[in-house]
């Protein structure tokens, strides 16, 4: 603690210590025992999220997204490592209402109405936003008296969103909030989110829709195989994908040498091999193509513009191997 150096009456202009605001993960791992096997769901994650940031956690199924978010929410304990949430243990931040979440599908009582569900959860908080206001903001005012079992998937998701708004949280965690929704429902859900959640609130959401990450987040954290494989602003991530994908067949014995050679070229982001096919993503597609054809004797050359999708697959696919 730094207490002795600060003047007793002075108003400090220095920013607060970095760990007292936002979310910090240090060397966090989580292993499950499943049958006789130990599954390493999260294999070492370091991550800091500043207040006000809107962060998307992007990754394929089994990347460790849900487990990581569960630990941030204090629903499970990390096997090793440390998490601080607004300067406290995750559970405490949740109990104080500073952190709340929209969980993946499941977890509503089907025989309560929407309003009763909100009243139920509201009654557990000493202070909360008014029930009617929260229903209004989640766009459920006209469906409040309907039983949960009679609500559509999208409406149930908005009900979970209403529950998350109750404590007026500083951080809102959304775990694949639009999974299983059709395109229209997804758009409608994000429209509601935009209107309400973004003003000054920190938002952390997991998704495997690139489009959602791109439209909604300021920053994208890509996960694969339980690790963070890329972390940057959406612009930085997109820039990483601005290169082209060049692929060609080489003789089987030359594959490893070819991968090495291509990795050595400047501006090459990733190189992967699948059987005889070598695929490289990089800024200078001409140089990649020339090397493959002339130097390495490649055949069946193909050059494509790398989409965000392709970069995603390349980054996550390689790292999880």
């Amino acid at each position: 603690m730094i207490t002795t150096s600060s003047p007793p009456t002075g108003t400090t202009t220095a920013p607060p210590p970095p760990t007292s605001e936002g979310i910090h993960l240090e060397g966090v791992t989580k292993a499950f025992r499943s049958g006789g096997e130990v599954v390493q769901a999260v294999a070492g994650v370091d991550l800091s999220i500043a207040p006000g940031e809107v962060v998307a956690v992007l990754g394929p199924n089994g990347a460790g997204k849900t487990t990581t978010l569960d630990m941030v929410l204090g629903l499970t304990e990390p096997t090793s490592g440390r998490i601080t949430s607004f300067g406290a243990a995750p559970r405490r931040a949740v109990h104080e209402g500073r952190v709340s979440a929209v969980l993946q599908t499941g977890g509503l009582l089907r025989d309560l109405t929407a309003r009763e569900t909100v009243r139920y959860i509201a009654s557990t908080f000493p202070d909360h936003e008014p029930v009617e206001e929260v229903l209004q903001r989640a766009g459920l005012a006209d469906k409040a008296d309907r039983l949960v079992s009679k609500l559509s998937g999208g409406e149930q998701q908005r009900l979970r969103f209403a529950l998350a708004l109750l404590p007026d949280p500083d951080l809102l965690v959304l775990d694949e909030p639009t999974a299983g929704m059709d395109v229209a429902a997804r758009r409608e859900f994000w429209r509601t989110m935009h209107e309400d959640a973004t003003n000054g609130r920190t938002v952390l959401f997991a998704t495997h829709y690139l489009e959602e990450a791109d439209h909604f987040a300021d920053r994208i954290v890509m996960m694969a195989g339980g690790r963070v494989v890329a972390d940057g602003t959406t612009e930085q991530i997109r820039a990483r994908a601005s290169g082209r994908t060049v692929s060609a067949d080489v003789r089987r014995g030359d594959v490893d040498a070819a991968v090495e050679r291509l990795r050595g070229l400047t501006g090459t982001a990733t190189v992967t091999a699948n059987g005889e096919r070598v695929t490289a993503i990089g800024e200078d597609s001409d140089a990649l193509a020339r090397t493959l054809l002339v130097e390495l004797g490649g055949t069946n050359l193909e050059v494509t513009t790398a989409s965000l999708d392709a970069a995603f697959v390349a980054i996550t696919g390689e790292e999880s191997r």
Binding site: F32, R33, L73, G74, L75, T76, V94, H95, E96, G97, S100, A101, L103, T105, G106, G107, L108, L109, D111, L112, E116, R119, Y120, I121, A122, S123, T124, F125, P126, R160, L163, A164
Partner: protein, 252 residues
């Protein structure tokens, strides 16, 4: 205790008409058929008549069915994701269990009140204190059995758990000397089954331990027999619950 939670939980159960039928209406109906409508109903037994004896039995069955269904559905809904939702609130586990316990008590009162009211109107007779004592023991016994529902819920993890728990209760009710008076070997077996102890204890203020079997023979049983039965089964249910809760926690 949180009155909003208790109120809303009660509302949920009152919406479940099918459940309420099995909890309250069916045992009441069985009392009318096997107790009130029978000619032997007016025969004296201990501090009351046979109608009162059948009434207590059916009230035990109804009350136990009620608490088993509360316990079972609590376990299932918690594991199907509602537990995660509650994990995001300041609600403590103790308050949650307390809410469900109050709920189980209130729901268990429904069949007891209904069957005792019908009994009063259709000629069940006994000392006044016997009515209250048997109702109290029934309520206490039913609370123990919420663990039975909890175990089925924790073990099966699906909506069918509540059905399986209530279904197996019917079997144990027959084996436990609740629906029909057993004798001989069946009665000996009955003494080891879970419902035997609590129903014998609930009837004790009326019968003082005496019972008449199908052959019309009078037998007496010391109070320690049902007490040991209840003690052992409470221990078994308690240990099983702890084991299953721990197993569930490891899997998280």
């Amino acid at each position: 205790m949180n009155p909003t939670l208790i109120g809303l939980e009660l509302k949920r159960y009152c919406r479940d008409y099918v459940g309420l039928f099995f909890i309250a209406v069916l045992p009441a109906f069985m009392y009318v058929v096997f107790g009130a409508a029978q000619t032997f109903g007016k025969a004296d037994i201990g501090r009351g008549n046979v109608s009162l004896y059948v009434m207590i039995s059916m009230a035990v069955y109804g009350a136990v069915t009620a608490t088993v269904s509360v316990g079972g559905s609590a376990a299932v809904e918690r594991m199907q994701g509602w537990g995660r939702q509650l994990g995001l609130t300041p609600l403590r586990d103790v308050s949650y269990v307390g809410t469900k316990a109050v709920l189980a008590m209130v729901i268990a009162c429904i069949p007891i009140a209904l069957i005792y009211a019908i009994g009063l109107a259709t000629g069940a007779k006994g000392d006044t204190w016997v009515w209250f004592a048997t109702a109290g023991i029934t309520l206490f016994a039913a609370c123990l059995f919420s663990l039975y529902g909890l175990i089925f819920g924790l073990a099966l993890k699906s909506e069918s758990a509540v059905g399986a728990a209530s279904g197996s209760l019917v079997v144990f009710a027959f084996l436990g000397n609740i629906f029909i008076p057993l004798s001989g070997l069946m009665l000996t077996i009955a003494k080891f089954t879970p419902l035997y102890g609590i129903v014998s204890l609930a009837r004790y203020p009326l019968t003082e331990g005496y019972s008449v079997d199908m052959a019309g023979e009078l037998t007496h049983e010391a109070m320690w027999v049902p007490l040991v039965n209840v003690g052992v089964w409470t221990l078994i249910l308690g240990l099983l619950t702890i084991h299953l809760v721990r197993r569930g926690r490891d899997r998280q």
